[in-house]
């Protein structure tokens, strides 16, 4: 695909903003978590876009290796995060984050 790299980076910025918006306006903990995944994914898209624009230098491939590591860490994060959500659901019988206020003074 022969489009300027800035288009890809701009798309990644828009997707990141939509993820931020999801974290701000939704109250379902699972949907908030999915928005965080959207943000991680947009960062990956930016990394791949930069790797494409820096090519064919051999160092450019390291951007893609970094994306690989980000995906692996995201997999670990999702496993622990969903376990936390299940634990919250067990104690609160809900995953509405407005109800998770036991620490409020």
């Amino acid at each position: 695909m022969n489009v300027p790299a800035s288009y890809v980076i701009a798309l990644s910025g828009v997707l990141f903003t939509l993820g931020v918006l999801g974290v701000l306006i939704r109250r379902n903990a699972i949907v908030i978590f999915m928005s965080i995944e959207l943000m991680l994914n947009s960062a990956n898209l930016a990394l791949v876009g930069f790797a494409r624009s820096m090519g064919p230098a051999a160092e450019a491939l390291r951007g893609q290796v970094f994306v690989f590591f980000v995906i692996a860490v995201a997999a670990a994060e999702v496993a622990v995060g969903l376990a936390l959500i299940v634990a919250i659901f067990r104690s609160k019988e809900s995953i509405d984050i407005d109800l998770v206020n036991s620490l409020r003074g």
């Binding site: 489009v3 699972i30 790797a51 860490v73």
Partner: protein, 172 residues
């Protein structure tokens, strides 16, 4: 307009519309399925950007494993439905204004930076981003981080088991 640009705009529209649909869906299952569509579209971008290996990892790990986990938890807990509009009335408009500001700033910064002015990009060799080239890099230069990731996944697995362990089992 070249075919490349048309392809980019079409895929970008699908990605943005699926992300917005994810945000506004009342049902969390629909949100998850829209997110799968978004991940698949991003995988198409990876393929077009000479990242074949990353595209396949994206489809198997993200669109496959992670989203199945999400759907499983949504259906396990039975909390698909949720009323939009929180207890704070001004939260939604403020959030939208802030997000639009952030998007505008991001786009301005990106198009003004050095990466933005670069027009046409160089052609790449066929092997760029192939599984062989990524694998060679992973198992030589990045061997230690690669092994660290395996430990991280093991710790995450143990943590998940500990978190969801049924503590009431002893009393039964």
């Amino acid at each position: 307009m070249t075919t490349d640009l048309a392809l980019f705009i079409g895929l970008a529209l699908i990605a943005i519309v699926s992300a917005v649909s994810m945000l506004v869906s009342r049902n969390a299952v629909y949100s998850a399925l829209f997110l799968v569509l978004n991940f698949l579209t991003v995988a198409m971008f990876y393929l077009l950007l000479h990242a074949a290996f990353i595209a396949m990892v994206q489809i198997t790990v993200y669109a496959g494993a992670i989203m199945v986990l999400f759907l499983f938890v949504i259906m396990l807990l039975g909390t698909e439905r949720e009323e939009i509009g929180g207890s704070i009335r001004w939260q939604m408009p403020v959030a939208i204004v802030l997000a639009v500001g952030l998007a505008a700033e991001l786009v301005i910064v990106i198009f003004r930076s050095a990466a933005g002015v670069q027009g046409q990009i160089a052609a790449l060799p066929e092997s760029f981003g192939s599984p062989a080239s990524i694998g060679r890099l992973l198992f030589s230069e990045y061997l230690v981080p690669f092994e660290a990731v395996s430990i991280l996944l093991l710790v995450a697995m143990i943590g998940t088991i500990v978190l969801t362990l049924n503590k009431g089992k002893e009393s039964r």
